[in-house]
């Protein structure tokens, strides 16, 4: 992996982390509005997914730092 490729990947991780943060914070602010129960459940699911997305980004970083990536499923 050359330097440009590393920069591309780090910028992508940064952008993804910011994107997942925006989704998470938007969802939290919407939950503050006391939405109906079904909407609340959906918003809570979106928040969990955003946090899972952040975990995936961290996994990508860890795998890249370890010199390899493995994917399953």
């Amino acid at each position: 992996m050359n330097g440009n490729r590393r920069n591309d990947m780090s910028e992508l991780r940064h952008a993804l982390n910011n994107l997942f943060t925006a989704i998470l914070w938007t969802t939290e602010l919407a939950l503050e509005q006391a939405p109906p129960r079904d909407v609340k459940s959906a918003l809570e699911a979106i928040a969990r997914l955003a946090q899972s997305g952040g975990d995936l980004v961290e996994d990508l970083r860890s795998d890249a730092a370890g010199g390899g990536m493995s994917w399953s499923g």
Binding site: S10, R13, H14, N17, N18, L24, W25
Partner: protein, 134 residues
């Protein structure tokens, strides 16, 4: 969230959407909110009218967050500073470690819940303590 209510906070992030959302969260918690989209504008705003708490992104144009943390803690040691980062060239942990070394009272890796950031801010303003990592 009594620690934030009525307190002046300055939020710095070059991601305008995140800045807007963060401001909405702090505003809803009762804080007096100032925002800046780069480190240079943020520091100028702070110097003109210091805040009790600063939340700063690390990777920003014109003046980066680690430099902001060091400048704030050098000139205004009583001001509480939270550094947040989504990582970049060297990853969130490395940036946040640098922010801690520069004197940040707390660091937070994105994506972290807004509620967690608000709790951390309230904690720092209510009960000053040692630097913490979240």
């Amino acid at each position: 969230m009594d620690g934030v209510r009525g307190r002046k906070v300055l939020l710095m992030d070059d991601d305008i959407e995140l800045l807007r959302l963060m401001a909405a969260g702090f505003h809803a918690a009762g804080a007096e909110v100032e925002v800046a989209a780069d480190g240079q504008a943020g520091f100028a705003r702070f110097a003109a009218c210091p805040a009790a708490l600063v939340v700063t992104d690390i990777v920003m144009p014109l003046r980066e967050g680690v430099e902001i943390v060091a400048m704030l803690k050098s000139g205004w040691p009583e001001t509480k500073v939270i550094a947040i980062s989504g990582g970049h060239r060297i990853g969130s942990e490395a940036f946040l470690a640098l922010a801690t070394q520069a004197g940040a009272d707390a660091v937070l890796a994105k994506p972290a819940p807004l509620a967690k950031l608000l709790r951390l801010a309230a904690h720092l303003l209510d009960a000053p303590g040692e630097a913490s990592t979240a």
